[in-house]
């Protein structure tokens, strides 16, 4: 009769461990699922933010391009015949500036937008020439490009 006692103890132990293991397995599975979902939603958010940024920068690029295309022969100083068209484009850039600026987190892009806005004003007043305006336009677009590159790098790091 005595040898039966350890057998019962072993049976009891496995009976106690099995549900624990089941609970542990379910918990780990649930944690993995939720962390995967959270990672996916973070990636989705980053992706949508990238698209928004791209759209905003496209708008900025169009406004800059329109402004730079006003002087048809790229003459050094603004001519009286171009001022009306230039003012209209400048108005569009300012609208873009105020709609995009608050959304942009990149300080380099913000600084470049302010500098270009000032330069457009100075070109309009005959204080700076077309080369200065074109240079600031290019540096603004380069800043936008770098900002997108950095965002893309961050996104790629997040996916890895």
């Amino acid at each position: 009769m005595e040898p039966e006692a350890p057998k019962r103890r072993g049976w009891d132990l496995s009976k106690a461990v099995a549900p624990l293991l089941t609970v542990l397995g379910i918990s780990v599975g649930a944690w993995q699922f939720s962390s995967q979902m959270s990672h996916e939603s973070t990636l989705e958010f980053t992706r949508s933010l990238y698209n928004k940024k791209l759209q905003a920068y496209e708008e900025v690029g169009k406004a800059v391009g329109d402004l730079l295309a006003v002087p048809h022969d790229e003459q050094l100083w603004i001519s009286a015949t171009d001022t009306l068209a230039f003012d209209s484009c400048l108005e569009r850039f300012r609208t873009c500036y105020w709609s995009v600026l608050p959304l942009v987190e990149d300080s380099v892009v913000v600084t470049s937008m302010i500098t270009f806005k000032d330069m457009a004003r100075f070109y309009r007043r005959g204080e700076n020439d077309y080369h200065d305006l074109a240079r600031e336009g290019m540096s603004l677009m380069n800043a936008c490009n770098r900002s997108l590159e950095q965002h893309w790098q961050k996104k790629k790091q997040g996916e890895e």
Binding site: L101, S107, V110, T111, I114, T115, D118, F122, R125, G126, E127, N128, R135, S139
Partner: protein, 136 residues
Amino acid sequence: MIRSLLLSVAFAATASAYAQDPLSQLAGGVSQQWTVVGYTPSAGPCKAGDAIYTFQAKPAQVVVKQCEGGTWKTSTEAITTWSAGGKTGVTFGGAKYEVKTLPSSAPACKGSANCVRLLTMPDGKTDATRTIYLTH
């Protein structure tokens, strides 16, 4: 290849030699007084916006006389020069200014032959920049 490299270096050296240091441009060698465009000295109280800047090369400083409430307030600020991305300028009074010589035909110069524009650089905190037009 080496010849074109040497030529580029020579061009760059010549260009930098001709590019005037913004402080010597403002101080005119030793010391020079500039007033804001549109300022006319008068016997009575000064007007809001009136300002006189006296730039000195050594020691590098500027004496700023600004009209506040009809009376002149004077302050002396140390100046440092900066250059970045093809731009040059001076820093004083906690602001970084880009210095540009303007033609007298520029409307802001109101026909003044010696006209410069001091433009504050964006500091990333505010979207507003400040422009000062000076003449002597």
